[in-house]
């Protein structure tokens, strides 16, 4: 097995590509801005400026212009129009799109190679965590003392919403984006995703969506919370139009990615790769993809209605015209609860994988593991109204929704038992991925159990809308998913770079983040139990000490994340070389060179057994 870190410098860039030769991220941004301006101009010239929705109409046109321009500029429409004209890609075109011999330039282009897309997702995830993290620090700084005015209250409200949405996007892509693209196809023995161009489309549509989301901050903000309930969203400024367009673009991105992922796993497996021999991580990605495909269209529909209500005086969510905010709440949570599992399942799959490899034991009860993930995905579609217990909607359905929600603790318990069973009496190798795995397990207990409290209607009546809820879902997202995502990063980082993520910095980072999470969010539970409402810019003196603790804890998390960021960047070129299979694992991604060549495999592999048959005597460094 050889390790190639440098590409052949003399190799030629393929002759094909056509228009794509001139397209990259730069042209996409320029075209996006130009089209945004053109659409803005057209809106001003053609629309009646006297009606109230004029500002919203212009904003919607401008945002659409950005999206269409960005798509044109990056090359997303090349494929469809070549198909329309019957001028299909030649082999050279395909190789150009795949970024053959293109070096670093391919990371800035509409590149179809799944490994490039995976690395692009790593960068996008880091950017999202960076933006969301800065907003989180601003929020916690504002809350360090009662009556503190670090930012003014409207800005604070916007920060709450944008922090929420940015972090949700970050969490959705944190595991499925980088590793669902980089390693999943190799794991099943495929040369790429089933639809490589759709893969690039999904990545760049997400980038365009992030542009729209950040724009909301520049055009008056989004002081309505990321759940954008009505009627307040209907009354918000034009930031809301950009938010709605963000969601529409994001749904396009996830739908395309979901179709691609499922198709890849169902049709691209190599010979002998039966469903039961697939590495368990791929099942996590599969379940998340399927669930996302089901859930996100509701959000697209809700936000399309929002745009129509705001620009065209329809009455979907407006009660004077016969609409109702409950419609928005239902559509939102039909997406909103499954979305939590779209976020969680890839991380769970990655942790199963890590637990097996790092303890040198098979996944304990593989079928239970797959079944628990399927159970989580299936049940999560039937619980959405637990977010609306106190909204007054359909009180008679409270009981059934409380029941379905509490039943979710069964598959959750099963997946936890699978993790413990896999580690039990294993020969556990305490490296970075394992350390973050144990952090996940500690935090997820708290996340899960406080969730059961909140599913209980009498308790939810008390706790709804308090910081208790905020602390609960931060244990889910920060304490659990982020820990899982970092474990996955530490685990597969050597496959991308050929080097270990710095173990020393990684461990320091772990302790800062782990302790920070406990301080921040345990204190936040106390604030909530004492009755502190969430989303408020200021608070009574009785919440002083717990908020001070939460803010100090948040800074601690930030320090840990900065250390991790430093490790991530410095290890990329200077880290300790890892070789192609640093964890002595058996799945296919470790059998190919590092970094894997363009088509992954020199010769097509044939699989004869599952990847968890470890040689226990294998020597470890």
């Amino acid at each position: 097995m050889t390790t190639t870190l440098e590409r052949n410098a003399t190799a030629q860039i393929p002759k094909g590509g056509g228009l794509a030769r001139r397209q990259n991220f730069g042209t996409a941004v320029v075209a996006g801005v130009v089209f945004a301006y053109l659409f803005w101009l057209i809106a001003h010239l053609t629309l009646d400026s006297t009606g109230r929705p004029f500002g919203d109409q212009v904003a919607t046109f401008t945002g659409l212009g950005w999206l269409i321009g960005f798509w044109i500029g990056i090359g997303a429409f090349n494929g469809p129009f070549r198909w329309l004209l019957g001028r299909d890609h030649s082999h050279a075109d395909d190789m150009y799109y795949a970024g053959q011999n293109m070096g670093k330039a391919r990371y800035w282009k509409f590149t179809t190679d799944h490994k490039v897309v995976g690395v692009q997702y790593i960068v996008v995830t880091m950017v999202l965590f960076g933006v969301g993290g800065i907003l989180a620090m601003a929020i916690r700084t504002n809350l360090i003392a009662p009556g503190n005015h670090f930012v003014n209250q409207q800005v604070y409200n916007s920060f709450i919403a944008i922090h929420g949405m940015v972090m949700i996007l970050a969490m959705i892509v944190a595991v499925a984006g980088p590793w669902g693209n980089f390693v999943m196809p190799i794991m099943i023995g495929a040369r790429d995703m089933a639809f490589p161009r759709l893969n690039a489309l999904s990545l760049w549509t997400l980038v365009a969506a992030i542009g729209l989301l950040v724009t909301t901050l520049a055009v008056g903000g989004l002081p309505v919370g990321w759940v954008v309930m009505d009627p307040i969203s209907n009354q918000a400024g034009i930031g809301m139009d950009f938010f709605a367009l963000t969601i529409i673009a994001f749904t396009v991105s996830t739908t395309v990615a979901g179709v691609n992922t499922i198709t890849t796993m169902m049709t691209m497996r190599t010979k002998g790769m039966t469903l039961e021999r697939m590495p368990i991580f791929t099942w996590g990605v599969f379940m998340a993809a399927a669930l996302g495909l089901y859930a996100f269209p509701y959000f697209l529909v809700a936000e399309s209605f929002q745009i129509l209500d705001r620009t065209s005086f329809t009455s979907f969510f407006v009660s004077t015209g016969g609409g109702t905010g409950w419609l928005q709440a239902n559509l939102f949570w039909l997406m909103g609860h499954p979305e939590v599992y779209v976020i969680l399942l890839p991380a769970v799959g990655a942790l199963f994988e890590i637990a097996a490899v790092m303890s040198r034991k098979p996944v304990f009860s593989y079928r239970t593991a797959v079944g628990s993930m399927a159970g989580l995905a299936g049940l999560s579609a039937l619980v959405w109204a637990h977010h609306m217990f106190t909204s007054g909607w359909a009180p008679t359905l409270g009981g059934p929704f409380m029941l379905t929600t509490e039943i979710i603790s069964i598959p959750t318990g099963l997946f936890f038992l699978v993790l413990i069973g896999t580690l039990w009496r294993g020969h556990i190798w305490m490296k970075l991925p394992t350390i973050w795995l144990f952090g996940f397990m500690a935090n997820f207990i708290i996340a899960g159990i406080t969730g059961i409290y909140l599913s209980d209607i009498p308790l939810d009546d008390q706790l709804h809308g308090t910081m208790f809820v905020t602390a609960h879902f931060h244990y889910v997202f920060v304490g659990s998913v982020l820990f899982g995502a970092i474990a996955a990063l530490a685990f597969w980082y050597p496959k991308v770079t050929g080097r270990y993520l710095n173990e020393y910095l990684g461990r320091i980072s772990f302790w800062f983040v782990f302790v920070g999470v406990q301080v921040t969010f345990l204190a936040m539970f106390v604030s909530g139990l004492r009755g502190m409402p969430r989303r408020y810019a200021s608070y009574s003196i009785i919440f002083e000490h717990t908020n001070f603790a939460s803010t100090i804890g948040a800074y601690t998390i930030m320090i840990g994340m900065i250390i991790l960021g430093v490790a991530l960047v410095t290890s990329w070129n200077k880290g300790e070389p890892s070789g192609p299979n640093p964890w002595q694992a058996n799945s296919l991604e470790w059998m190919v060179p590092t970094p894997p060549p363009l088509e992954n495999f020199e010769v097509q592999p044939v699989i004869t057994e599952d990847p968890y048959n470890f040689d226990k005597e294998m020597v470890r460094r």
Partner: protein, 244 residues
């Protein structure tokens, strides 16, 4: 994991496998599943729109499913420039024309039928030229459906509303939900027109033939789903609209 190796499969047809030398059956199977999954996502969207329609009718907020406080009978500019608007009155809107609804649906179903027949004939007779003509015909009929849908959308009645902080032309909940269904139908038809045009061009350029017909079948699958959704939407909106 123990691994044996085999030679890579023979090169597939260019442009259909991302240059990865996949066996044609793998490409075909993948594309078919992909289309089914996109149809699945689309089913969720259409279901959400139908749910919206039925839900808003069901809750009938303040009795305003098909009525609204406002003014009707003049242009937007008239009300804007009116010096003193009288108190608004309760305006009742009527259900949209069921006949027109079914006309659009019928035209859509006809386009799907043309494509289906054309694809079947292509596989039997191997006549790509005839298929190209059929696809062109289906595309033109789709354009007719698009025009009819635009006429339908423009016929949805607006009511002028003026409150302390806003004024403009507004739609009742019924008209809003109806507009969403017809609007999604319009988007579907535009996609079909694009696909139909592509089939026409590609068949005439020899990219779809009696041997390479599977793309025609994939598009036919999507086309038939659009026709079915059009029938379902028409059935719901024409039979369930008023509140007695």
């Amino acid at each position: 994991m123990s691994i044996e190796t085999t030679e890579p499969p023979a090169a597939g047809p260019h442009g259909e496998d991302g240059g990865h030398f996949l066996e044609p059956e793998v490409v075909d199977r993948g594309q078919r599943l992909g289309v089914w999954l996109f149809i699945g996502g689309d089913i969720i969207i259409v279901s959400a729109l139908l749910f919206t329609y039925l839900y808003l009718r069901g809750v009938n907020t303040s009795g305003h499913w098909m009525s609204m406080l406002g003014y009707q009978g003049h242009s937007y500019a008239y009300y804007q420039n009116a010096a003193n608007l009288p108190a608004p009155t309760l305006i009742h809107v009527k259900a949209m024309s069921a006949g027109f609804d079914w006309l659009i649906t019928a035209v859509t179903v006809v386009t799907a039928g043309i494509i289906w027949q054309g694809e079947r004939a292509l596989r039997v007779t191997k006549n790509a030229k005839a298929f190209s003509s059929a696809a062109a015909f289906a595309t033109i009929v789709t354009l007719v459906a698009i025009v009819l849908t635009v006429i339908q959308l423009r016929a949805i009645p607006e009511i002028f509303v003026a409150t302390n902080d806003s004024q403009g032309m507004a739609y009742t909940a019924y008209d809003s939900a109806f507009m969403a269904l017809v609007g999604s139908g319009l988007i579907h038809l535009v996609v079909l027109a694009f696909l139909g045009l592509g089939l026409t061009v590609r068949a005439s350029r020899g990219l779809i033939t009696g041997e390479k017909w599977y793309q025609a079948r994939l598009i036919r699958m999507f086309w038939v789903w659009i026709a079915i959704s059009s029938v379902v939407v028409a059935a719901v909106t024409t039979t369930i609209n008023t509140i007695h």
